[in-house]
């Protein structure tokens, strides 16, 4: 998955939680501040982690708070795994 695809995946997951359209989700916002609870965010991240088959800590969720930042982080992790 490309970074854009990861970002799109996270946005679609968040949109589903918030009952909105993905295009209405601003990737620059802190997703814990747009109505996504910690639990919902952890579920989304866990699904992304499993889908990408990468090894990350849940603490990362709180370190990379915007959709764009988190997608970039997951993308970097994924690229490294591919390089291995």
């Amino acid at each position: 998955m490309t970074r854009e695809e990861i970002e799109a995946f996270i946005k679609s997951e968040i949109a589903a939680v918030l009952n909105q359209q993905p295009e209405d989700i601003d990737e620059g916002l802190n997703f814990l501040k747009i109505g996504v609870s910690s639990v919902q965010a952890l579920k989304i991240i866990n699904r992304a982690r499993k889908r990408l088959d990468i090894d990350i800590s849940p603490v990362a969720l709180f370190e990379y708070k915007t959709i764009a930042d988190f997608a970039g982080y997951l993308s970097d992790c994924l690229n490294e795994r591919v390089a291995e």
């Binding site: 910690s38 919902q40 982690r49 990350i56 603490v59 990362a60 709180f62 982080y73 970097d76 992790c77």
Partner: protein, 439 residues
Amino acid sequence: MITGMTDYNQRVKRWLPGGVHYNFHLPWEETPIHFLKASKSRVTDLDGNEYLDLYARFGALIVGHGHPEYNERLKETIDRVLSVSHCDMDAEALELIHRYVPSAEMIRFGLSGTEIVQNALRLARAWTGKNRFVRFEGHYHGNADNIMGGRSPKKGLPIPADYFGDLKGTQGRARDAMETQSYLIPWNDAEALEELILHQGDDIAAVIMEPVCINGGGVMPAPGYLQRVRQLCDNHGIVLIFDEIITGFRMGLGGAQRHFGVMPDLTTLGKAIAGGGVPVSALVGKEEIMRLLVDKKVIHAGTFNGYPLGTAAVKATLELLGQHDGLPLAQMNERITMIHDIFREEASRIGLPLVIQGPPGCASYHCCNKPLEHPSEYTFELMSLDILLHQKLAEYGILVSTVSRMYPNIMLGMEDVAWFRERIGGALAEAKEWLDELA
């Protein structure tokens, strides 16, 4: 003018990167808690919220907030002999450490755990004439370039390297610092260590570990594991270093080494050694190795090493902890064990899986049914549950350290046990809803 904690943190954040003093804070806190006052086991933040403090400054605070005798000793030292290189309390502090810590034949003081670990490694290299050290997954030994984070490949030599996603990884690490100096292998696996030593022992100066893997979730050593490690090090001329910066005085006055009856060659101490009010670390060990410092074959330096306030704090702390044959620590453990019991009972009543593992003075909770036997069992899912419970505990006025560690102090009282009992049910009930949602 202070208009609340969030505003205050914004003011701090203007100058302090991230608004925090270190990067291993609790990242799920939107605003770090700024405290206004503290007493015994309670702390009060700028907004007037009171908490039971089981965070205890990453475990350093063992005497409690405002301990009258400890504070008086520090004040007396400030007034009498604040800044000299050697003072009239050195002998007493050293003799106390020697009395309690089995491997402490000689002792040097430092300020931080990170620096004292590096000094231990330097001594081990000098003593053995070898370069590399072995460390273990899930253990933490400070934030120096050569020892923090990394991951070993699944095949081949266990030479650690940085990887994306490593929360203990960092940009800016000196090139190859980790790769050329260390091996990183699973802990509690004597065969893995034996295999490595058999093939690479000629270049291994030291094996360093937390004798109880506190940073990996409070995992106890498997029966006989520490003894086997000791034996392997002896057979191959390798210095065994116990990092007892957490367990040193929280697992009894003699630390894990006394508890398990396994004597390392060198031990690093810190955090609670000076009570929690001032920074002190210590490198202690076998006289024959420590003599390299006497001969100045190995350099150990530091402007504030052995500073009077720190020495006074070590002396005061160990005298306090050792009173009545260690009664204050025994009482602390008894009360935190009451808290653990209440925690388990309430969790059971609510139907939330919970284990509490590790020594009482530095135990961790985990939202699962079976204690972790290896740091690698601390999975994404389990850590997620622990973080969610951590958040609920804080909302209910109970602060624990990252991620789920509970550090008591010797002023922990029955009123604190009652405080915990009053709040834990609500915290667990709300956490249970979250956890069910996550499951």
